[in-house]
Symmetry: C2
Subunit: 585 residues, 2 copies
């Protein structure tokens, strides 16, 4: 087995083409071993095996520096740079992350998880090299799907100004997570169909030199192409045509499904883990489909992650013109939604909390300055969300809730979520964001409000005295547990409040608490800094009311265990009760 | 005079070409009247006179909807849509803003001030039109300078997916605020030089239909071109070549200087208002030039606003490869800076507070997740900064200071600012942002610290008791005044603290204040929500310490008077003293 002998890229440089091809086969076997057992990004890695071998064969990493966009396609790169055991052996699966990671290896230069960043980051490496008078090759590897992102387009446009070595490998498998969207993909198609010879060429139009490699899964052809650009003295695009999921028939046939896959049976391709119960993705899709059928002005918008609101291929087809995937283009998505709302449409843009970060300025300027009634749905916005350092969902409260005019709502159960979403779609006064619950689909039999236009009215769920608990969104259930604990341990019935609105204070209610309460506890599912609880602390700052804020520490977590993080942040009824007793004195 | 008779676009539709040309002359006279007396965007408006006339001649605004990018070129549009008096008569100058504004007119659809948004916003208008089954024309007008922005490129790429009427006017005057940067400008040049016939065409490469108008200041030619695309059934780019500053020789010759100009003498072109004293733009430039000469690894980066750090044409030339203008591309700028820092360079990226908003995700992911030692300089970050609703500098504290790993510093005078900047450039551990003071160049004769690596150590400037004032950055001088006032009116010597670090608490110092203080007052030059003071309130929440936070209300202000805003927010020693007396009980 060749792979077993590869401890660094040097070890593949001695191999012959046929041996490299055997190595490719072994790498696919190793990928399959990890992916079928643990899950992960399937299609991107199966498609880039040969290109990764050729890159490491031709270039001299880590002196030559390779930056992978999104870096979910770095499994093969990791195998060839001393981390093969993370694919070969179950007991080493946890040693490596799913993205490039400088802490793992000197061959990785950045922690990357968001799309469209590689060209700019690598451009910076190249600029520093030039300032220092050094000479290594700098290579950015970017997929076709990432090209529609503004950061990538800015970076590619600027690359032409670097008048020194800079190589951009465009790994074109004609696919984003779902299908691609945007006019540039017609140009990529024309380039593929003309063997790179079409006169109209996006990359040349951005000032870059260009070559096309038709057989992007042919090691020999790739090596030949890469050798031609090695040590080149100006920016150069190598456009390679690869096959997503190559080598596993089911993945080649179902490219969207096999972009990322949970553990599966290799024979059938079926998931071996079942998530049977209700989930907010499907529920949201059903809800929006109903709204769309009742009103042609309702339109759902996603940016390359239709799954966040359950829009499968079939549902997208069914929704027709009322569903829009803008591709990886979150900035466009929010400005587009603002324009739709301005002209009388009812847009709902949904994405992950972490990807909303892409569009702070558009939320502020295009949407909120203009006060247009678009709806933003923020998914996986929680400590219970994704747990890779690049995909955390615990920063959206400080990011979004301090933007003027935005109404940011935090539902505490399924019925309240859909009531809020329904209100948001139908109202015409405010830009509204809703934090989709992330702590399981919790139902209530009690009636929920249908109208949220009386802004910042908190809801008292249980009236008590001495201690008030203001429990926001996903942490409302923690608030309920805490209330119970306080009742049983302290013989005090605390007041329990569902604040519902992240973006404002119910000053009347807060004022009224002063009469019979000496302590207010806030709970929020996100970092404390810049968040919700601090606003309560500010309100009571000049008074005798004691305020205890609970939430997460401002830090970047990585691949964490939720229970550990909650413990460390004292986010359990037991810890909070201890604090209450300590501070009541 | 024709202009006097124009109350709506209808009034120009009856005019003959020659009359329209006379109108154009009158409009330039009116522009000159306002601009020489009041200042404003000169070049963009003088260049677009004819195109604006032709647009309103051919299309039927407001049914047909025109969205202007940045909207600093809407002066002519305003003249033709009922707002001519704002240009003809001094007493009406204040009636209109410098940007498009729906509150002024039904012909304006958005408040716009940031670049690169028009295509996406207009795309949304078009989408809503289609959902409603209506038929009007939707037109986005975007300058060549704005094309390098990620949001614009995302929008143009996606425009091809709108299979209905959508017209993009590319107003190409071969100039951004300063010269353009990026490879796409070579393509625009090739298109201009080939009369639009070059096979390689950025717009076609993004899937759009295209036509070129060589004489972009010829009303007749423009009318002809616009008539051809009116009611077109698919997205279409009309690329017009205009002359920035056309009609005023000095502006045509000095396009950067006359992009925006303060009041000036028409004869000589010289400013009639003098800002002679020291300013941070020039001081920062001098400082960076010195650093660059001492170390080839230092590199200053701007995104199309070299003026924010005083880099005039001459200084840019002098700095050579150590100065980079990435064009309008803030996302790229931050990722690029992170890459430079990673590879051993010493990058300093500077822009306005309002434009930093463009790059939240890049600060978070590309820079802070990777903890690379790049420096961000945040300019006009203050209530004393720009006062248009789209350019406010009062939101960067909540936006940036809650991102983990970032060290955000608030200097309180000139010497401290340069000491912090110098430390930031030379250290290699943290991503650092520095808020450039904005309340005048204030000097100190006292020694300032040169090393800020002991993070979050606040500085006690005067030790007192009972009341502590924590006065951040630009509001430190207000803190000094307040301390004086408290001393003289209350016979109490308060403790005065310069916190220096926006991003963290000096818990040891805060803890120590408990012994001899009953009240802490925080002052910050920005909105309170999500800001610095709330963190202090949270710290003292469980204790008996009273906390009073002072800063600005979370809202969008527009063309405000600083003194009024300070009064309204109780940001004067008198107001605060009243509160102190009230809450001490």
């Amino acid at each position: 087995m060749y792979l077993e002998t590869v401890n660094s890229p040097k070890d593949i440089k001695k191999l012959k083409i046929q041996e490299l091809e055997k190595l490719a086969g072994e790498m696919r076997t190793a990928l399959m071993h990890r992916l079928s057992n643990k899950g992960g990004h399937f299609g991107p890695n199966f498609g880039i095996v040969e290109a990764t071998i050729a890159l490491h064969y031709v270039f001299d990493s880590p002196k030559d520096k390779i930056v992978f966009d999104v870096s979910h396609q770095t499994y093969c790169h990791k195998m060839l740079t001393g981390r093969k055991n993370g694919y070969l052996y179950k007991e080493h699966f946890e040693n490596i992350s799913g993205y490039s990671n400088p802490e793992e290896s000197e061959h990785d230069f950045f922690n990357i998880g968001h799309t469209s960043t590689s060209v700019s980051l690598a451009g910076g490496l190249a600029k520093a090299r030039d300032l220092k008078g050094e000479k290594e090759n700098i290579i950015a590897v970017i997929g076709d799907g990432s090209l529609s992102g503004g950061e990538a387009l800015e970076g590619i446009d600027f690359a032409a100004e670097l008048d020194s070595n800079f190589i951009i490998i465009v790994n074109d498998n004609d696919m984003s997570i779902a299908e691609n969207h945007g006019g540039l993909y017609r140009n990529l198609k024309a380039l593929r169909e003309s063997n790179g010879l079409a006169e109209c060429n996006l990359f040349k139009a951005m000032g870059l030199d260009y070559v096309y490699v038709k057989e992007g899964n042919n090691i020999e052809k790739l090596i030949e192409a890469f050798k031609q650009v090695k040590d080149i003295d100006h920016p150069f695009v190598v456009h390679i045509n690869t096959r997503k999921g190559k080598g596993y028939e089911l993945a080649e046939a179902n490219r969207e499904e096999f972009h990322w896959h949970m553990p599966f049976d290799v024979e059938t391709g079926r998931a071996t883990v079942n998530f049977d119960g209700e989930n907010y993705e499907d529920l949201t899709c059903d809800f929006l489909m109903k709204k769309m059928k009742a009103d042609p002005k309702v339109v759902a918008i996603v940016a390359a992650v239709p799954g966040v609101i359950g829009f499968t291929k079939e549902k997208r087809k069914e929704a027709g013109k009322q569903f829009v995937d803008v591709g990886i283009a979150e900035e466009h998505a929010v400005a587009f939604a603002s324009g739709i709302a301005k002209n009388g449409g009812k847009p709902v843009f949904a994405t992950h909390s972490s990807f909303m970060q892409r569009t702070y300025d558009q939320i502020s300027q295009d949407l909120c300055v203009n006060n247009n009634p678009a709806t933003l749905l923020v998914n996986t916005a929680s400590v219970y969300g994704m747990n890779d350092i690049t995909h955390l969902g615990i920063y959206d409260i400080p990011m979004m809730s301090n933007i003027p005019n935005l109404v940011y709502l935090a539902p505490t159960n399924c019925e309240e979520y859909f009531a809020m979403l329904n209100w948001s779609i139908e109202q015409t006064k405010y830009p509204v964001a809703v934090r989709i619950p992330c702590n399981g689909v919790i139902h209530t039999e009690k009636k929920v409000d249908t109208d949220y236009s009386n802004l910042n009215k908190y809801q008292i769920k249980e009236k008590g005295s001495q201690i008030a608990i203001i429990a926001l969104g996903d942490f409302f259930q923690l608030g309920e547990q805490l209330a119970k604990e306080i009742k049983s341990k302290m013989s005090v019935t605390p007041t329990l409040i569902n604040p519902r609105y992240i973006t404002g204070l119910d000053e009347e209610l807060l004022e009224s608490l002063k009469a019979e309460h000496q302590m207010v506890i806030t709970l929020e599912d996100g970092i404390l800094d810049g968040g919700f609880g601090e606003k309560i602390a500010r309100f009571y700052g000049p008074t005798h009311m004691k305020v205890l804020n609970y939430g997460l520490k401002k830090e970047f977590l990585d691949r964490y265990n939720v229970e550990d993080v909650l413990q460390k942040n004292r986010l359990t009824p037991g810890h909070i009760l201890d604090d209450v007793e300590r501070y009541r004195i």
